[in-house]
């Protein structure tokens, strides 16, 4: 296919040269009757993409404490994320399209205050997401994610968990609404084995995303999110958290492969935790650089 396109482009003759500009405009107007025909090349096999994202974040409450953190506990954070995904061939059903994506991610979080470097950690995730996409209707999805966290300095695994989810999303012009429910099976390492699953929880959330294009390359992405989590295991049994999030980012597409974002996010959690108050407020603001390539 690529060679065909190359051959076609090699034989390209501009009508502007052949017949003059007026003829070209007339021809374009005439052709509009069956639509504008832009030559493209599409892939037929599974689509593989990979990328790297760098984030430099100023975070007011890095450890999500219920009280205002001391100055020592505040830090700028550097996050390096490497990811890859494979989108399998779509399955064409009678009224819908299935979309199946499998991906992996490695993330390294580094606190920029030297006193906090002991909290640096790395995490790995594997996920699957399957969409059943209708046209112009709600788009239901199912998925499964596995993730683990390791404390960098001690090479100590701290946590792993599996989380299946179902969700549905729908576009309303520039807005996208998503509702989602998931259950997290968790295993906290290193403590009492009888309480290792205390972060097991149901989480149900509603989210609205908005995209506002300022130009071809630049725009604003904003989101509002409200989630409720109910914990049902161990010392957390009966705990309920309400998490509210709002954020916006100004993105600039440098080229096909590179994008830069300036972002600010606010998160607030209130909780009815009995022994500990899990509520917190946090602001994140920073810079994000993303490089992605599709093979």
């Amino acid at each position: 296919m690529k060679s065909t396109t190359t051959k076609l482009l090699a034989t390209l003759i501009s009508l502007g040269l052949a017949h003059g500009i007026n003829a070209q405009q007339d021809a374009a107007a005439e052709q509009a009757e069956i639509g504008v025909q832009q030559a493209v090349e599409s892939s037929t096999g599974p689509q593989v993409s990979a990328g790297y994202e760098f984030q430099y974040i100023g975070r007011t409450n890095p450890f999500y404490l219920d009280e205002s953190p001391t100055k020592e506990a505040q830090s700028r954070i550097m996050v390096h994320t490497f990811y890859g995904a494979v989108e399998l061939n779509d399955i064409n059903l009678s009224n819908r399209i299935t979309r199946n994506v499998v991906g992996v991610m490695h993330q390294s979080v580094q606190y920029q205050e030297s006193a906090l470097s002991g909290f640096d950690y790395e995490s790995q995730s594997v996920f699957y997401k399957g969409d059943l996409q209708p046209i112009g209707d709600w788009n239901p999805s199912i998925g499964l994610g596995y993730s683990r966290i390791e404390i960098s300095e001690a090479n100590l695994e701290a946590f792993d968990g599996v989380s299946p989810f179902i969700s549905a999303s729908k576009n309303y012009g520039d807005y996208m609404a998503t509702i989602k429910t998931s259950y997290g099976f968790t295993d906290i390492k290193g403590g009492s084995s009888s309480d290792a699953d205390r972060l097991n929880s149901w989480t149900t959330s509603a989210r609205i995303d908005h995209l506002y294009g300022l130009s071809d390359r630049m725009g604003l992405k904003s989101a509002l999110n409200l989630a409720y989590s109910y914990y049902n295991e161990g010392s957390n049994s009966g705990r309920g958290d309400v998490l509210f999030g709002a954020g916006t980012s100004l993105y600039y597409t440098i080229n096909k492969y590179l994008r830069a974002d300036l972002f600010a996010d606010y998160t607030r959690r209130s909780s009815n935790g009995v022994t500990v108050d899990y509520g917190f407020n946090n602001w994140d603001a920073g810079l994000k650089l993303n490089a992605a390539y599709s093979f």
Binding site: T4, I13, S14, A18, Q38, A39, V40, I135, G136
Partner: protein, 266 residues
């Protein structure tokens, strides 16, 4: 009969003419279901006459003027939309002969097989689906399947080829077959009056949208030019957009631009 036809299409009389041959066969005919004319002054609404049910018999010629379009229904529910500045005639059973212009054709899986004919070219669609077609300015037929499955049999070029939605097929009067070109279905659909201008939604519109959706996710390369026609085996002509002046940039002619430029120190 001729008088009755003219009375029914009186609002379109200057742009749409059905020139009938009263001796034509009565056995096979298409029925005119919708007439459409764009707003003349750009302000008044477009004129639409629906379901006039005027039969177009084999041998009769339908000629469409500027900014007017027609929609016909065949005996098995097949649909034919004719673009502006077009002229065609059904000639015999399931055989449509075009002298110029453009069309959209939709036929169901169990529907009849149609032939499309223009000077030096005759093709048979051995399959079903939705197809856009255009008689190219220097002769020959451009055919774009949008949905469906099957083969296109070119009788003038003695070729049989499976078609894939989203690819342009060229058929030249001299028998040459330029390579097929894949095109962006979304852009085509959004800019095609034969799909969007009519009040009735195409029966296959959902399938077209699905195809566009599927293709949009797999596009890897996008040309900055637009396919126009083909004039030889290796000669496909493209339209290259002229660069346009951006008025919102400083100094490019807008008041704001001039003001901004006057304030800048460089």
């Amino acid at each position: 009969m001729k008088g009755a036809i003219y009375r029914k299409i009186a609002p379109f009389i200057f742009s749409v003419l059905l020139i009938g041959s009263l001796t034509a066969s009565e056995e096979y005919c298409l029925y005119l279901r919708s007439l459409l004319k764009d707003s003349v002054d750009g302000k008044s609404p477009p004129l639409t006459t629906r379901k006039p049910n005027i039969p177009l018999h084999s041998g009769q010629v339908a000629s469409v003027g500027a900014q007017s379009r027609l929609e016909f229904i065949g005996p098995a529910g097949e649909m034919l939309r004719i673009g502006h500045n077009s002229e065609f005639a059904p000639v015999g059973l399931n055989r449509l002969e075009f002298s110029h212009g453009s069309f959209l054709f939709f036929v169901q899986r169990e529907g009849p097989r149609y032939s499309f004919v223009t000077k030096g070219v005759e093709i048979l669609i051995a399959g079903y689906g939705t197809f856009l077609g255009e008689i190219m300015p220097l002769g020959g037929l451009k055919l774009i399947p949008l949905t469906g499955e099957g083969q296109i049999i070119s009788q003038s070029q003695s070729s049989v080829e499976k078609f894939y939605p989203g690819q342009i097929h060229f058929y030249l009067p001299n028998g040459e077959r330029p390579p097929n070109v894949e095109i962006d279905i979304t852009l085509l659909v959004n800019s095609c009056p034969l799909i969007t201008a009519f009040e009735d939604t195409l029966p296959s519109f959902r399938e077209i949208t699905k195809r566009a959706h599927l293709q949009a996710r797999t596009i890897k390369f996008r040309s900055n030019s637009f396919v126009y026609d083909a004039v030889g085996k290796d000669r496909i002509r493209f339209l290259v957009p002229q660069p346009t002046e951006k008025k919102d940039k400083p100094g490019n002619g807008s008041k704001f631009g001039k003001w901004l430029k006057s304030k800048l120190p460089f």
